[in-house]
């Protein structure tokens, strides 16, 4: 067993980073617009280019459209208009099977972890491989040994290998989130979307999760796009910060240049002392 685990997985995520040149544009969003029931727009005039291996935080008040934006990228929510080009493929026009294929290249991490609580950690992580499976293969859980080794090596990397056979409802919040990240990584994604990954965690667990996410973007070359509520966390970890307010991008740049007035633009004037805490 130990021998098997020490072996380098056959197609690990590290290999993807070799194929894609560092700094190549992985996601290009143009004129993205979204409104529900033709009401007030949730997102408008969104322009964005994400490069491979970047760590980007999206900050903004509740209801600014952060979650909607993330879900528009992998089409969990259909945008009203605009263009999203991910990995040289236009996402907005994709039909079922092609959409599935593209989605398998985008990992997603959730605030409430969204693990199947009655199943083991190992089973939950392997769920990330369904995007590569036919209906029957998936239904009967036919995973190859390589896939299992990949799952275990990722769990090992996140420090969760000893919990592989534990049921997910017996884990703590931070452990659950690490399983959630493992499930996303086992997809061997090029882009990792994280929707408030630390909003339900204590400071200690939050640090562990953010450190892992940072490590993923640096060593695996996976672009990490994180929705955050905590400005200080965003400033500390990000290569780039995007400020969203009322569905518009009001700031896009390096965290060092995020001035107090920019924060006021993002959050509104009444919380301008937010960053001083």
């Amino acid at each position: 067993m130990q021998q098997v685990l020490n072996k380098e997985p056959i197609n690990s995520s590290v290999e993807i980073s070799k194929k894609v040149q560092k700094g190549e544009v992985i996601l290009k969003v143009q004129d993205l617009y979204k409104s529900y029931n033709r009401g007030t727009p949730v997102l408008q005039d969104i322009q964005m280019e994400l490069k491979q291996g970047e760590f980007i935080s999206i900050i903004g008040p509740s209801g600014a459209g952060k979650s909607t934006f993330l879900r528009c990228i992998n089409r969990m929510i259909d945008p009203t208009s605009g263009s999203i080009v991910f990995d040289n493929t236009e996402m907005t026009s994709l039909k079922k099977a092609d959409l599935r294929k593209q989605r398998s290249k985008i990992g997603m991490v959730f605030q409430h972890y969204n693990l199947v609580s009655r199943l083991s950690v190992f089973e939950n992580v392997l769920h990330g491989r369904f995007g590569y499976k036919s209906t029957l293969q998936g239904v009967f859980s036919l995973f190859s040994e390589e896939e299992k080794e990949l799952a275990l090596s990722i769990l090992d990397k996140l420090g969760m290998k000893e919990f592989a056979y534990k049921r997910c409802d017996q884990l703590s919040g931070g452990q659950k989130q690490r399983v959630g990240i493992a499930r996303a990584l086992v997809q061997q994604p090029k882009l990792l979307l994280c929707d408030e990954p630390i909003a339900s965690l204590d400071p200690n667990a939050s640090k562990i999760i953010m450190d892992h996410l940072k490590d993923i973007s640096e060593t695996m070359g996976i672009t990490v796009l994180v929705n955050l509520h905590q400005v200080d966390v965003a400033l500390k970890y990000s290569d780039r910060v995007i400020g969203l307010n009322k569905g518009r991008i009001v700031y896009d740049g390096v965290p060092e240049k995020l001035s107090n007035s920019a924060i006021r633009d993002i959050y509104g004037s009444e919380i301008e002392d937010l960053i001083l805490e």
Partner: protein, 283 residues
């Protein structure tokens, strides 16, 4: 301000008193029916003909019959092995209809769960189901008896149909309890619809489904006894019918009742054990 002015004009006053309730149709109908029922209950006994009945003897004979049934149970027409065999047949009727019903219900429940299917499909199934559930099981069995003839086939068809309607609703409701986030997470990985059914819906709801299915099995056991008598489906119900209506053997009726009761108690015991086990594994 508008509220106060409208309130003043809204207040109903009758005979100089402020009315607390306003007149509306459904209230009126409800009151009418209730007062009619009360009146009927009070008046009706005076119109019954008691002439032929001697109350004292009637009570005496009833108690005597109950004594024969439950204090002196005995088998005369059927042997003990035959009785046990007949109980097995009744259990088999209940088991078969529950099993077939449960399998079909699982697929129908997937189609009728609002979080898994578009609402126009689920609404059709839900409407159809409530129609089936509204008709009693016995009636369904008799309807199927037209094509299948009175007997076990009609009984199983009727019981299965009612089981399907019942379990589909129960399963679908437990499916709808699932946290949508789990389904979302798997859709985001590119998983197919069947992957989500098997790897999210099934593990999350299996314990509920088992306990609902067992509850329905107990109900079907009771129905199967009745079907033995009412639809000649065989089993212990038929022996009970013969003993009571053909041989007038109250000792045997008592004995058979005890048998049926013991089996029902065993089923109840097993179901409690299963439930406890499932609840235990939840934590």
């Amino acid at each position: 301000m508008q509220a106060t002015s409208s309130m003043q004009s809204n207040i109903k006053i009758r005979n100089g008193k402020i009315q607390i309730k306003t007149f509306n149709r459904s209230n009126f109908v409800l009151h009418f029916i209730l007062s009619f029922l009360v009146l009927f209950t009070i008046v009706a006994p005076f119109f019954l003909e008691y002439g032929a009945i001697d109350i004292q003897t009637a009570i005496f004979y009833t108690l005597d019959n109950l004594k024969m049934m439950f204090l002196q149970p005995a088998l005369s027409q059927v042997t003990l092995t035959a009785a046990l065999y007949q109980i097995l047949i009744t259990l088999a009727l209940a088991f078969l209809s529950t099993l077939i019903g449960a399998v079909i219900s699982f697929f129908l429940a997937i189609l009728s769960a609002k979080n898994l299917m578009p609402s126009y499909i689920s609404n059709v199934i839900i409407a159809f189901n409530s129609f089936i559930r509204a008709v009693p099981t016995v009636l369904w069995v008799l309807i199927f008896a037209i094509v299948a003839g009175l007997g076990s086939v009609a009984a199983i068809l009727g019981m299965t149909l009612h089981t399907i309607a019942y379990l589909t609703k129960a399963y679908a409701e437990s499916f709808e309890e699932i946290d949508n986030g789990m389904i979302e997470a798997l859709r985001a990985t590119g998983a197919k619809w069947w992957h989500i059914i098997i790897h999210v819906v099934l593990p999350q709801t299996s314990s509920y489904m088992v306990s609902w299915t067992f509850l329905r099995f107990e109900t079907n056991y009771g129905v199967a006894i009745a079907m033995g008598a009412a639809a000649a489906a065989g089993g212990i119900g038929f022996e009970l019918f013969m003993a009571s209506s053909f041989y007038y053997d109250l000792h045997e009726v008592g004995m058979i009742t005890y048998f049926a009761l013991i089996i029902a108690l065993i089923l109840e015991f097993i179901s409690i054990r299963i439930k406890n086990k499932l609840i235990g594994s939840k934590s």
